[in-house]
Amino acid sequence: MTSLIDVENLTLSFRTDEGLVTAVEDVSFSLKKGEVMGLVGESGSGKSVTAKALMQLNPGNAVYDPKSKITLHAEGREVDVLSLKKAAELKIVRGGAISMIFQEPMASFAPAITIGNQMVEQLLIHTDMTKARAKDVSVEMLDRVGISDPAKRFDQYVFELSGGMRQRAMIAMALSTNPKLLIADEPTTALDVTIQAQVIDLMKDLVNEFHMGIIFITHDLGVIAQTADKVCVMYLGRIVEEGPVREVIRNPKHPYTRGLIAALPRFDDLDAPLTPVPGDIPSPLERPTGCVFHTRCREIIGDVCKRDLPENRWVDPTHRVACHLHAKMEAAR
C-alpha cells in the first residue's frame, strides 16, 4: 500500500514572552491509506500540536524548524504541506484532503447558524457542487452517521442536539468532503461510555466504507486498543515508542508506555494497586536534558539517561523505541 502522509523530523516551537518553547521535537511517522494510527500521551505531550501541523492550524507564533518536512500524497500529486502559504493553496489540507474532528463539538459548530447551512457552506467551498446537490449530500451524510430524521436535523441549531448527536454531526460534516485523511482529536473524551462505544463503532464502519487514513488522538489506551492499527506514544513532544497496536499494548518497550498501562484501573484484578507515573509532566520551559522522560522514569539506568538523547532503535521492523535501556540490552547480547 502506498503512503498517504509522511512526516519527517517535525520540530516546532512557539515564540512566547519567556522565549522559544519547544512543543514538538524530531517527530517522524508515516501513515498509509486506510490505516488508523493512534497518537497517545498525557496533556502537554504535543499530540494535538503535531496533528494541527498537518493542516497548518497552529497559531502565528509557531516556528517550524527548517528540517521539518510533511509530504501529503493526494489527488495524484505530492504536496509539501509546510511550504503552502496562501489561503487558496491551503485549502487542500484544510478541509480538502484532510478533515478534523474536535473534542468539544459544541465549541466547533457556530451556534447561530443551522447545522445544515454549515455543512453546505463547506461543500460549496471545497467541491464544485450546486447548492441543491450540497444539501442532498449533507442530508445523506447525516443519515449515514445514524442521525434520526436527518432532514429535520439539517435545519436545527447545534444546541438542539445531544452530545452524542453533535459528535455524529461533526463526523458527518468532516466526511462529506470525502477527505483522504481524518484527524480525530479526542473525539470521544467528552461522551458517556455507552455513546463512546457507538461513536467508535461508527468510525470503524466509516474506515471500511470510505477507506481513508485516520489519526486518532486520545489519552485512553482502551480506545486505541479498540480502533487503531498502530500506535505512537508521545511524551514532551517526542515519539518515545511506535509500533503495531498489539505489540505496544502487550509488549511495551518504553518505561513510559509501561507506566501508562500500569496506571489504568483493570477489571481482571480489582485488588491490583494503581501505579501512577511518578511526578508531573515537566513544564515545556524546563525541558530535561538527555532523555526527556528521565525525571519520572522508574527504570533509569544512570547518568547516560540524564546526559544523552536516546536514539530510535528498531526492536523489529515495525516497532521502534527511544530508550537507553534497550540500547544496553542490545549491547549485552
Binding site: 455507552t194 457507538q198 485512553d220 482502551g222 479498540q226 489504568l264 484501573p265 480489582l270 501512577p276
Partner: protein, 335 residues
C-alpha cells in the same frame, strides 16, 4: 472501623418546578424515590450516564439541591440531622461536616487567590479558627496531608498542573474537618497517570482521617478499584445496588451489563460489538412508561412497557429493579 450508617436516604426525591405560568405545575424529577444507605468509613460509588441524576443526588445529600420528597438523615455519632428540614445554625454546622470536591480543577479554583488563601477560605468563612497563626497552622497541616509543599502555598493556581490543582481542591474540602465527602467526577478530567495518583491519595486520606466518600463517576473501572459499594442510576431511578465485588462479578440489571460491555477493552483482539446499547438516555421531561430503561433494553417484554419494576432485595444485599432479572440469570447459568 465502625460500620454504622452515616447517611440514610429513603424515597428521596428532588423535583424542579418547570411549569410555564402560574397554573402549570409540571415537575421534573431529577431524582425519583431513591433509597440508599452509606456506611460510616465506606467508599460508596454512584454510576450512570449524564442525565441519570447522580450529581443531583450527591448535591441533595449536601443540601445543595432541594429535597421535595422522602427523607434523608445524617448521623455521625455527635449529631443527627434531618436533611430535608435542616436550616439556620444546624445547616451551618452541617456544612463543616459535609463537603464537595468538584470535577474540573481548572474551574474550581479562583485564579486571583493564592493557594494558601484558597485553602484558608472555608476556615475564615465558617469562623473555625480565631487567629491568623491558627489558620496558617491548620492550612499547613492539611496541605502536607494532600502532598503540597509549603512553597506551593504562596503561588497562584495557574502555576499548577491538573493533578496538583485537584490536590488543592481536596485540601480545601478537607480543611474544615468534614466526615462526609461527595467527590463528583473528581478524576474525570485528569490524565490516567495522575488519576491513579489522586485515587491513591483519596484512599489514603480516607484511612487517615476516617472519612466517608460518595464517589460519583461515569467510569466503571475507576469505581471498581476504589469503592466498597456501588449504586447504578438511570433517569433518576436507582436500578441496581450491591457490594462492588458482587456487582462486578454478576451484574443483574441489563443496564449495568450494557455499561460494562461499553468499556473499551485493552485487548486489541477483543473488538467485539456484543450488547452495545442503542440510542441515548431519554429526556427527563418525556419519561417512558413502565420501566424507564425499556426503550433501550435488549430484553424488554410487554410488562416492562406498562409496569414500573420495584427495587427488590433478594436477601443477599444485591438490590435490583428489573422484572426479568431472575429469569435472565437462570438463562445465563444454563447457557
Amino acid at each position: 472501623m465502625s460500620k454504622e450508617t452515616l447517611i440514610t436516604a429513603k424515597d428521596l426525591t428532588v423535583g424542579y418546578n418547570i411549569g410555564k405560568g402560574f397554573f402549570d405545575r409540571t415537575v421534573l424529577k431529577a431524582v425519583n424515590e431513591v433509597s440508599i444507605e452509606i456506611k460510616r468509613g465506606s467508599f460508596f460509588g454512584l454510576v450512570g450516564e449524564s442525565g441519570s441524576g447522580k450529581t443531583t443526588l450527591g448535591r441533595a445529600l449536601l443540601k445543595a439541591a432541594p429535597i421535595t420528597g422522602g427523607q434523608a438523615t445524617f448521623t455521625d455519632g455527635q449529631v443527627s440531622y434531618d436533611l430535608a428540614t435542616l436550616s439556620g445554625d444546624e445547616l451551618k454546622d452541617y456544612r463543616k461536616r459535609a463537603q464537595l470536591i468538584f470535577q474540573d480543577p481548572y474551574a474550581a479554583l479562583s485564579p486571583r487567590m493564592t493557594v494558601r488563601d484558597i485553602i484558608a477560605e472555608p476556615l475564615e468563612v465558617m469562623g473555625l479558627t480565631k487567629t491568623r497563626e491558627e489558620t496558617d497552622a491548620r492550612v499547613r497541616e492539611i496541605a502536607a496531608k494532600c502532598r503540597l509543599n509549603l512553597e506551593h502555598l504562596r503561588r497562584f493556581p495557574h502555576a499548577f498542573s491538573g493533578g496538583q490543582r485537584q490536590r488543592i481542591s481536596i485540601a480545601r474540602a478537607l480543611v474544615s474537618g468534614p466526615k462526609f465527602i461527595v467527590a463528583d467526577e473528581s478524576v474525570a478530567a485528569l490524565d490516567v497517570s495522575i488519576q491513579a495518583d489522586v485515587l491513591n491519595l483519596l484512599k489514603q486520606l480516607q484511612k487517615d482521617l476516617g472519612l466517608t466518600f460518595l464517589f460519583i463517576s461515569h467510569d466503571l473501572s475507576v469505581v471498581a478499584h476504589t469503592c466498597d459499594h456501588v449504586a447504578v442510576m438511570y433517569l433518576g431511578r436507582l436500578v441496581e445496588s450491591a457490594p462492588t465485588r458482587q456487582l462486578f462479578a454478576a451484574p443483574r440489571h441489563p443496564y449495568t451489563k450494557a455499561l460494562f460491555s461499553a468499556i473499551p477493552s485493552l485487548d486489541p483482539d477483543d473488538r467485539g460489538r456484543a450488547q452495545k446499547l442503542v440510542g441515548e438516555i431519554p429526556s427527563p421531561l418525556n419519561q417512558p412508561s413502565g420501566c424507564k430503561f425499556h426503550t433501550r433494553c435488549p430484553n424488554a417484554i410487554d410488562i416492562c412497557r406498562t409496569t414500573e419494576p420495584q427495587l427488590e432485595n433478594p436477601g443477599d444485599g444485591h438490590e435490583v429493579s428489573c422484572h426479568r432479572w431472575r429469569e435472565l440469570l437462570e438463562a445465563e447459568i444454563t447457557a
